[in-house]
Amino acid sequence: MTPNRTDPGGRAPDRSSPDRRGPAQAARVRARLSGAAGSAAAIAIAVLWTLPTAGLLISSFRPEEQIKTTGWWTVPFDPEFTLRNYADVLFGSSSDGRLASYFINSFTIAVPTMVFVVLLAAMAAYALAWMRFPGRDWLFIGVFALQIVPLQMSLVPLLRLFSDGVAIGTATVLPPLDLPGAFQFTNVWIAHTMFGLPLGIFLMHNFISRLPSSIIEAARADGAGHGTVFRRIVLPLTVPALVSLAIFQFLWVWNDLLVALIFAGGSIEVAPLTVRLAELAGTRGNEWQRLTAGAFVSMVVPLLVFFSLQRYFARGLLAGSMKG
């Protein structure tokens, strides 16, 4: 449920660009990849890769008894379909089964977190890349190093911070957080923002530091302060990176279960979709057929986000993680 946060950084290896190895070699690679054998291999991999998901999709339309007794591949011999699983997931058998409020909770958690992470990461990255101050490199290394701290380690201390506050002696430095209404989400927002920032700053730093210094120096020479440079020059130029970080952060928070369970809890006012899905199977897991449909319902938003912004995602991530 909690994907390895450093994954996208690591997944973009320094793919030496073909033009560096010379056009001849690039052409050869290209020819080989677009040949019949290459296509066949690509199709085979794609089919293998998609098969489990396809099986899940077929299962989600099968009746409970069939899901529990036979595999989805028996469908051609005994086709029987139902929307019952989707009805259970969407409208539920219990009065709080309405998924809509959990959807809204998920948005209420994911969207502000996304905004906080993107804004703070961009500002921090700008400062680390273009502002001169003592200890800057050490600060950057520190932020970079934070990525390797597993977030599980910080759950209990952070929760204690929220529920007990901080006091030095008898002086209260930070009161316990106990906020009403929509601000019940504050804990989750803060937690997710903290866990998202190290990678966000790292990605944005790599992108922002590669902006041509001549533009920034010209702006500075014209009298622009750091605020103006950041707003008028850096932000417009880094839109692909900002969008890709935003998508990435959004998807991660959307899919998160662990942080939500601990900082939001399971009540209908604050619990996101993932928490609801986790309890769909019933106390003893006897209703697990619902999970098939639940998986597809929860996938809708990430798929929409991904497909509509796919171009920025790939481009921005590569640009941010690859040293030029």
């Binding site: 409970e64 008894e65 502000p112 209404g181 530091s209 928490v275 006897n286 030029g324």
Partner: protein
């Protein structure tokens, strides 16, 4: 690692990319803002949503709750019960909440066992938690986090439940929790229809059960099905077999010594019992109806393992009373219907048929007046009956009204538990140290199904203790 920018080496293509994108920032920003628009529409919902109206405190329906009426407030409750069953739980105390004005915010989680520790460590303990294992509760009693039952609730609990039950939450003479739901793990599920068609009789002794199994095998029906796959908890259904066999063969005293580790885990008596189970679970003539050979037991999920009984592909399936929820919805569960269960028969006449079971306990971490009131209410027979009338739940409370139990299996189980002569023992694995009870015991039994020797398995578990 040097973070200094290197703009002069930027390749032309890399420079073009951001600039091209910069020409269309509006579109990207628009796409990114879409969720914000959705969020705005959800704000109305967030602004305030309060529960339904209360009942008239003076009305006759509120009579039983009079003693708690001037308290008010709200109580946070946390437990492993979720979805449909959590909803029934909420309905069960609805009247109490309406009449007293004490709101109970129940939250259920499948990660309860891990989360409760995090919550308590993080200073965010719920007011009341529902523990499915007394061993887990004992940990919080030792650390001083869980509070003893208030006097009112303790008195109610002592009136309502037998010593067998309360002993599991009694520490230094003080009760720490009230028993809630209960279950029986000594049931053997069978199909009365199939039994009638073939002239089989529900066996009264273990030997008769083995004879019946042989008859079934002779008729070409696999007598037993089993499945111990259960995700991280794979192996536990096999531990129930061993626990039942030990309790029936050697009696409750040996069972207690075994669970408390006063005799070694691989004591010859335990070996004897596992060999008895061996005669069923690892007998290729007997298993695994509807699923395959002996080894398919390890890969068949506990939830699906018994379903072939309903299809007539398997004769009997030993599983707790909670398995009632796993049968397809249109199954007729009754003494003469499609599916019913009998108590695993006696091995030793002297010992009879003691029951291995489990259940839940409600314990508190705070002692505000409204929390005390809810604890008292949870200890009343009124709550037990209110929840039981909603189905799929029964309490071992002495005065619980059996007529309210719709499901014949619940009634059978409740009757078994209430019998004053019956000996009740908690599922032993839950009371062993976690590393054994929910670790090596499960793993060892899984390896055993996969072919490891009987003594070797028990010695492996003993060595881990």
């Amino acid at each position: 690692m040097a973070p200094s920018p290197t703009p002069t080496t930027t390749s032309p293509s890399a420079r073009r990319a951001p600039l091209a994108a910069a020409r269309r920032p509006a579109r990207a920003a628009g796409a990114a803002l879409l969720p914000l628009v959705l969020l705005a529409s959800g704000c109305g919902y967030l602004a305030g949503e309060t529960g339904g109206g209360g009942a008239d405190p003076g009305s006759a329906a509120c009579e039983p709750y009079a003693q708690w009426q001037d308290i008010g407030g709200s109580v946070e409750m946390y437990g492993p019960i979720r979805d449909d069953e959590a909803e029934r739980l909420r309905q069960a105390w609805q009247e109490f909440s309406d009449c007293t004005g004490i709101a109970i915010d129940y939250e259920g989680s499948g990660e309860f066992e891990a989360q409760i520790q995090v919550k308590v460590d993080g200073g965010n303990a719920p007011d009341i938690a529902i523990f499915p294992q007394p061993g887990l509760l004992a940990r919080f009693v030792e650390s001083g986090d869980a509070l003893p039952l208030p006097d009112g609730a303790a008195d109610l609990a002592r009136e309502g439940w037998t010593e067998d039950w309360l002993s599991y939450v009694e520490h230094d003479g003080e009760l720490y929790a009230t028993p809630q739901a209960s279950n029986v793990k000594s049931l053997v599920w069978y199909s009365p229809t199939v039994f009638e068609e073939n002239g089989y009789e529900v066996p009264r002794t273990w030997d008769a059960m083995i004879d019946l199994s042989d008859t079934m095998a002779g008729d070409g029906l696999k007598p037993w099905c089993a499945g111990i796959e259960s995700g991280e908890a794979t192996g536990w259904p096999a531990t129930d077999w061993l626990e039942n066999a030990v309790l029936r063969e050697h009696g409750p005293d040996v069972y207690d010594q075994w669970v408390e580790h006063e005799i070694p885990f691989d004591d010859p008596k335990i070996v004897e019992s596992l060999e008895r189970v061996d005669g069923i679970l690892r007998n290729p003539d007997y298993v695994n109806g509807g699923h395959g050979g002996v080894k398919s037991i390890a890969t068949t999920s506990q939830q699906d393992a018994g379903l072939p009984v309903n299809e007539g592909e398997c004769g009997m399936y030993m599983m707790g009373s909670f398995y009632a929820a796993n049968w397809p919805e249109d199954t007729d569960i009754s003494e003469g219907g499609d599916i019913y269960a009998f108590n695993l028969p006696a091995i030793d006449e002297e010992v009879g048929t003691p029951i291995v079971g489990g259940g839940e306990f409600a314990a508190a971490f705070t002692d505000r007046p409204e929390v005390v009131a809810v604890q008292e209410y949870l200890a009343t027979v009124g709550f037990a009956d209110s929840r039981a009338s909603l189905g799929r739940w029964f309490s071992a409370h002495r005065d619980a009204d059996l007529e309210l139990l719709e499901n014949p299996i619940d009634r059978l189980s409740a009757e078994l538990l209430r019998d004053p002569d019956v000996v009740f023992r908690w599922d032993g694995g839950d009371n062993m140290p976690a590393a054994v009870g929910s670790g090596t015991f499960w793993r060892g039994m899984t390896d055993w199904i996969n072919g490891k020797g009987t003594e070797e398995t028990l010695t492996y578990i003993e060595d881990s203790w």
